[in-house]
């Protein structure tokens, strides 16, 4: 079965649902079909993917030594109990 043809507006409206993997297989296939043929929507999709990847990469922050010591003490405490 051929995927339904979506308009650019429909694709943009559902783009984040698609990127968040909230769509079912058929809906996702409709979006992918459009993205493979529409440069504008494809660019938008790539842009949002790139931004969210950068956001996810920014999630780490060096744990302060104080926290590391606290965790070690905490585990030592359980060991003694």
């Amino acid at each position: 079965m051929n995927p339904r043809e979506l308009s650019c507006e429909e694709v943009i409206a559902r783009l984040f649902d698609y990127l968040d993997r909230e769509l079912d297989d058929r809906q996702a296939a409709e979006i992918e079909h459009h993205l493979s043929r529409c440069r504008d929507c494809f660019s938008r999709s790539e842009f949002e993917k790139r931004l969210r990847a950068r956001l996810a990469d920014s999630a780490g922050q060096p744990a302060p030594p104080r926290l590391q010591r606290r965790i070690r003490r905490l585990l030592d405490g359980f060991d003694e109990a």
Binding site: R44, A56, A63, R70, L75, F78
Partner: protein
């Protein structure tokens, strides 16, 4: 359990925990925004994980399991604080002016329909975007939006899970997420513009400036 078993168990736990610690702390910091609170919830999550290690059926799922505990610790702490008015600093519903720019899209500001040989605004933007810029933009989101954003974008939770964890309707998860994204992108745009990173080219001016006040 023999002494040797106990030592092996502890070594296994620490071996798994150590490489995750920076991300646990970073996630906790994005959720709470306060270093002391972030340390508290990480410590509590680690304590719970260690106490309940027998409940972890599949050792390969250690990371997901530990982050799930972290999220739960944060949410119960968040709820507890909200029931104490002296700690409830942020309202459930953001003020209308906090919603300004909710439908802003960075893409519209940066996208040029054809590639220029000296590079594009998009490239300029991404090349100069620092971790601190992203962290600041996220931290500045009103709390209900920030929490949903962290759970979905940083932790990869499904909308239904977020709705269940926060005890809010699915539609609220969606609308908060949409607004959070608009506000985050607007903040990033303003940061980049104020830092003089983006020399506004003709393409940026020609494309829509919806959501941006003059």
């Amino acid at each position: 359990m023999t002494e040797r078993d106990r030592r092996a168990r502890r070594a296994w736990f620490e071996g798994r925990l150590t490489p995750l610690l920076d991300r646990l702390y970073g996630t906790a910091l994005r959720l709470t925004r306060h270093p002391d609170d972030a340390e508290d919830i990480v410590a509590e999550a680690v304590a719970r994980a260690w106490r309940n290690l027998d409940e972890l059926r599949d050792p390969e799922r250690f990371e997901a399991w530990l982050f799930h505990i972290l999220t739960n610790v944060f949410i119960s702490e968040w709820r507890r604080r909200r029931s104490h008015p002296q700690h409830a600093t942020e309202a459930e519903t953001p003020a209308p002016d906090e919603l300004d720019g909710a439908d802003f899209t960075l893409f519209q500001q940066l996208h040029q329909p054809f590639l220029l040989w000296w590079g594009s605004l998009e490239e300029q933007f991404f090349n100069s975007l620092l971790e601190q810029d992203l962290q600041r933009a996220l931290d500045d989101l009103p709390e209900p939006f920030r929490v949903v954003m962290v759970l979905v974008e940083l932790r990869g939770h499904r909308y239904a899970e977020v709705a269940r964890l926060l005890d809010i309707p699915l539609g609220t998860v969606r609308s908060r997420l949409n607004r959070a994204r608009g506000l985050l992108q607007k903040a990033l745009w303003e940061q980049a513009r104020d830092a003089g990173i983006l020399s506004p080219g003709p393409a940026a001016e020609a494309s829509g400036t919806k959501g941006e006040s003059p």
